[in-house]
Symmetry: C2
Subunit: 214 residues, 2 copies
């Protein structure tokens, strides 16, 4: 594969919308849709068409005048832009309900993004087999992360154990963390953290429901 | 309680940051922190201090010159702004792994936001008791949603069943949907939908990791 160009200063909101476009284009491709223009694509994604064109313009010019976008081509382009065509290996720390749900989530066990190690500090869980993975002791992160080529850590422990899990993941050499726990964590500057806070969406919903009522 | 003022045109990103501030302020309050200025609050939330001040300014003037913000006061103010001080009842449709994880997620079973009904169409799951709730047939949504005073639907079914679940929830009278399935859904204009797409955060992470490498 050719080295893709280096993009800089892409707003975070653009990345998130591109993830939505990608999801929609993948579904359209499966349904046999071959060509789409920016208006219907925008409608399905709950944005406006000029936003779609602006987001894509960061990466190049992909539409065909009078035709629109070729669905599978645009899907591949966006995959490349998001580096979703690379292979990413993740370690999941905390095999409670949320951890199990993610281990059984097909998109997190795919060829391109795969949870390849499950870890917990509970002696009753260590050694258990879950969805094809043996649960390891979190103390073995130091050895398993480099051995399995893991770059991303997923934290699904209770909030009071989140910082310890983060420190163990960082010490083991991971580069980014998806934090599902409801706690803030501190990590060195070279490690990226993304917080999954379910209330981000809950409050958008409740705020809109109340505002509409009045 | 007095009727709070009506806020309009609050950007979605502001609502999401307020959800983060609220989470952080609640943790600080538990830890006994009484006063905080915008700089350290911003640092913990990974934003800059002027952003914090700008977000709060939509709702009023809450800082005290030379002191900062009173933690518990600001927490209560933000709760009010987000309508997080009201009681919200939710129905969860789909009691697979993700559904079970959410049923067992303390923040979704609290006094202010509570999943009060669990639904599934699998005859083997109907009648089962899960985390204090009996699983009902999705066909009974029509009767249970008004009976239990439910306003929000949570969809945790596989993507191919998401639209059917959405239609059933809308027909039963809910006002907003949190969609955890990896499928887009269509609903009438008066119903709000929030998509929980795990790849929004995954791609922000992978994009940053690759960009930094170069």
């Amino acid at each position: 594969m050719n080295q893709p160009p280096k993009y800089e200063h892409i707003p975070r909101a653009t990345i998130q919308r591109l993830a939505t476009y990608l999801q929609v284009l993948e579904a359209m491709d499966k349904d046999g849709v071959q060509v789409i223009s920016s208006e219907p694509l925008a409608r399905v994604c709950d944005v406006n068409a000029s936003q779609v064109r602006k987001d894509l313009a960061y990466f190049g010019e992909f539409g065909v005048r009078g035709v629109g976008y070729y669905v599978s081509y645009l899907r591949d382009i966006i995959k490349g832009c998001l580096y979703a065509d690379l292979k990413w290996k993740a370690a999941l720390v905390g095999v409670g309900n949320m951890g199990r749900a993610l281990l059984n989530y097909p998109e997190f066990r795919s060829n391109n993004f795969n949870i390849v190690g499950a870890f917990d500090c509970d002696p009753f869980k260590i050694g258990e087999r879950l969805y094809g993975l043996e649960v390891y002791c979190t103390k073995s992160l130091m050895e398993k992360v480099p051995e399995l080529g893991i770059e991303i850590g997923i934290i699904t422990v209770p909030p009071e154990r989140a910082q310890r899990a983060a420190t163990q993941l960082v010490d083991a050499g991971i580069k980014g963390i998806l934090n599902y726990s409801a706690a803030r964590i501190s990590v060195p500057d070279h490690v990226f953290v993304e917080y999954i806070n379910f209330f981000h969406q809950v409050y958008s919903l409740t705020f809109n429901i109340v505002s509409q009522k009045r």
